[in-house]
């Protein structure tokens, strides 16, 4: 067993793990942060998307031991200190961008990254940037609506 120390959402965590344990299992089963989900075995679906140093990665494609000392962010880190919804959370709700919600954490972590690291994106660009995240319910249209909306809000906030 190895002790892995890392930071998630600004808070320090420590947990015991075998080297073979996936980071997503470590986050869910050891650290009990259940917002990050698992939707496939092969890195296709993006349900497990988190941020590592601010960049989105798939936490099922990484071993927990590789994240020793890492600075991570998960869906639980989006809301404000008093539970205020973040702009992407707001937009997803307002635009009906989730149905079953199982893929939503991954999409939110992508959106949080994309709206801050791109010029104003067209719908086509948003679709291209989100192709590593599967949604089986919405057909993606309202997700694209939400990302556009969140980016508009982000730019307005920045002004």
């Amino acid at each position: 067993m190895v002790t892995v120390n890392l930071t998630i959402n600004g808070k320090e965590y420590s947990g015991e793990t075998e080297p073979r344990m996936l980071l997503v299992h470590f986050i869910r089963d050891v650290l009990k942060l259940k917002g990050t989900h698992i939707g496939c075995d092969t890195g296709h679906c993006g349900a497990c998307t988190i941020q590592w140093d601010g960049k989105p990665v798939k936490s099922c494609q990484i071993l927990a031991v590789q994240a020793q000392g890492a600075n991570l962010k998960t869906v639980e880190g989006l809301e404000g200190p008093n539970g205020e919804l973040s702009i992407e959370q707001e937009s997803f709700r307002e635009k009906f961008a989730l149905q079953c919600g199982y893929c939503t954490s991954g999409f939110l972590m992508m959106t949080n990254y994309l709206i801050r690291n791109n010029e104003e994106m067209t719908r086509e660009e948003i679709r291209e940037k989100l192709h590593g995240n599967y949604c089986m319910c919405t057909g993606y249209q309202q997700i694209v609506d939400a990302v556009q909306d969140a980016q508009r809000k982000y730019f307005a906030q920045k002004k």
Partner: protein, 283 residues
């Protein structure tokens, strides 16, 4: 899914890593892990020992050497290949190639060295590396050697690297000629059904001065299409019989045949793609 048990090492220096490669039993290098992790999870691959190169800073550098060649550390991520100014300037085709790989999340973890060493016959980098005439630097306790990409990739999932060797660097000669890199897959993240990388330079008199073309998604791994290159090189662009030359070259290839496309279909598509790509490049 759940990988089988293995020993895990995370060396902090290249020396430490090379020592481990020599001493532990059946060492397997993990770079970004974006190809390896699914194999571990599906238990298609059950390594005894993983050597993680993630903590070795020198493998993450991009430099330009005195000969004007790019030297790209094996642990440079696809994201960095796209973003890096030196690469964009000196081998823009490489940056464009990286944009086709996986998705944003995969590109943030996956590395150029990991991808090349995987030697997947449908992967994105190899055709580009072939036309760039890149080389791989292999290091072991026994010493250093540099292998041309065409000699390094020996076949599908097979490379020239010995068990104790680590691919540390990719040497990419500067290339700012016209280029085109393209893959056809039904979805962007999928492995190529048909893929082409090409660079070309036309002289002021309209003749084709330089042309290098490689195709991927072939049964025996990527190939330089040398017969096609020589049929066209030196010719005036309006005097070439493109269709016949392409047909002769492609008919001699053996594309992969699987549920994403059979051999004949892929040949057809490859011909069509080549015709368009070459026409665009020499115009």
């Amino acid at each position: 899914m759940y990988p089988t048990e293995f020993e895990y090492y995370r060396p902090k220096t290249l020396d430490e890593a090379l020592e481990l490669m020599k001493t532990v039993e059946e060492p397997k290098v993990i770079a970004g892990g974006q190809s390896l992790m699914p194999m571990l999870k599906l238990r298609f691959y059950e390594p005894a020992c993983l050597i993680d190169l993630g903590a070795i800073p020198e493998l993450k550098q991009v430099k330009l050497d005195e000969g004007g060649n790019l030297r790209i550390g094996a642990m440079v991520t696809h994201f960095e290949v796209i973003e890096n100014g030196l690469i964009r300037e000196n081998a823009p085709i490489l940056a464009s190639t990286a944009e086709n790989i996986g998705d944003i999340q995969i590109r943030n973890r996956g590395t150029i060295g990991g991808s090349i060493c995987e030697a997947d016959p449908s992967a994105d980098y190899p055709p580009t590396m072939f036309v760039l005439e890149a080389s791989i630097v292999l290091l072991s306790k026994e010493g250093r050697r540099t292998v041309r990409i065409e000699d390094f990739i020996k076949g599908p999932y097979e490379t020239d690297a010995r068990e104790d060797e680590i691919a540390v660097e990719i040497i990419v000669p500067k290339s700012t000629d016209q280029y085109h890199v393209e893959k056809y897959a039904r979805r962007k993240a999928d492995f190529a059904v048909v893929s082409v990388a090409a660079i070309a330079r036309t002289a002021s008199d309209g003749s084709i001065e330089e042309l290098r073309i490689a195709a991927g998604a072939l049964t025996d791994g990527p190939e330089r299409l040398k017969s096609l290159e020589s049929a066209l090189k030196g010719k005036k662009k309006d005097s070439v019989d493109l269709q016949t030359s392409i047909s002769e070259t492609v008919d001699a290839l053996t594309p992969i045949s699987d549920i994403h496309g059979g051999e004949e279909y892929r040949k057809y598509s490859l011909k069509m793609m080549l015709a368009r790509v070459i026409k665009e490049l020499i115009e």
